[in-house]
């Protein structure tokens, strides 16, 4: 278990910032406690200081997980965000979608064309039953 290096922190923040934007600093600097990111076996965990101090007493090969797993670094050092991070990202999420047309096409297309896809899982239909027709 070790803290993240500069490079790793940068890659991870860039990924997370795509989902929550500037609110990322609220994750880093929390009013209700000191939380930090630690790397263990290529996985990034978001732990409070108290849990970290307890977890440090467990030997590395026996430690499975601690705190919340935000994601992992792949063999080629890319960061993959995991679903376990959802609880922390949801309060700060930005609404967004995938562009359906390129920027140039967006300007030329008629007013009723689809420009953005809102990607969601199948459960969205159930969750937002009232608002969706």
């Amino acid at each position: 278990m070790r803290p993240l290096t500069e490079e790793e922190t940068r890659v991870m923040f860039e990924k997370i910032a795509k989902y929550i934007g500037e609110n990322l600093q609220l994750l880093v600097d929390r009013p209700d406690g000191t939380y930090c990111f630690r790397l263990h076996n290529d996985r990034v965990y978001y732990v409070s200081e108290k849990i970290l101090k307890l977890g440090a007493n467990i030997s590395g090969d026996k430690l499975v997980s601690l705190g919340t797993c935000f994601g992992k670094f792949t063999k080629t050092h890319k960061f993959r965000l995991h679903i376990t991070a959802l609880d922390y990202l949801a309060p700060y999420a930005k609404g967004f979608g995938v562009a359906a047309k390129s920027t140039q096409d967006c300007r030329k297309v008629d007013p009723m064309a689809i420009v953005v896809f809102h990607q969601a899982d199948i459960g969205e239909y159930v969750r937002h039953e009232e608002t969706l027709t």
Partner: protein, 365 residues
Amino acid sequence: MEGQSVEELLAKAEQDEAEKLQRITVHKELELEFDLGNLLASDRNPPTVLRQAGPTPEAELRALARDNTQLLINQLWQLPTERVEEALVARLPEATTRLPREKPLPRPRPLTRWQQFARLKGIRPKKKTNLVWDEVSGQWRRRWGYKRARDDTKEWLIEVPSGADPLEDQFAKRIQAKKERVAKNELNRLRNLARAHKMQLPSAAGMHPTGHQSKEELGRAMQVAKISTASVGRFQERLPKEKAPRGSGKKRKFQPLFGDFAAEKKNQLELLRVMNSKKPQLDVTRATNKQMREEDQEEAAKRRKMSQKGKKKGNRPGPGGKRKGGPPSQKGKRKGSLGGKKPSGLPGLGGKRKGGQHQGGKRRK
């Protein structure tokens, strides 16, 4: 009124005295055992009060501690006192409790080579005097060591022995012999030490070329020879098809697990600020590397031009090896005080200069 207050004061004073006395005197069934040298008091009274106290005996424990400490301090006040630099100090007696060993007993060391030999031969150490009369200086000098009696390296006149080369430096020979003796002694000491700790010495066992070495031995010898240079093998040339050795870089160092949380937070917030700022930040390492490469290229171009001119005009003596490095180029991005640090050096040294690396980043091409 005043009379009343005086009476009240007296009564109060008496009450205070009684309380103090009560506090100071503690009644115990069994007397405590004191070891004042270790400031230790042992209470052998049965702990009936504690047992009756219930699940949280906090108050009773505190009372017990207070009583025992009071008794200990009463004992301390009875010791002989002295004054040390304006402070009254009690002189503690010798400690009577024997504390156990902190570390385990040292295990018996194996004998050194000399000790084994001496034991075998039955040689006993002869008692020798520390000082010897030195005729040369006319005083008593040590038998060995600094300013010793017969130091042959300090002689000012050495006759050339009959069989020796007349041009040989006898003084240097003596000093060399002394150095070799010292080195041999040191080697033997380390060997004895290694034997005592059962460690392996890094030996040059398979390194001398015999005719009969296996492929692995030769490989090992080659590896050792390769890294036995001043730069630990960094600039050694490789054969055309030879592969680079893997895992020969520096071991990575990470921040400690509980570093300074505040500092970590600050660094991360700074990183976020930079990421969100939308303005391209100056990467000092990249900028300096780019600058240095441009300067190297300029130097190389100039040298080529000079050599061409020299060849054309037929062996005209060129302007020597040293050239002041070209006009201070203002190209490329610069931050603050980089200009001050640039040495106007030899062109050949261009590649080895260290630019102003404020963050100490890696040199990235």
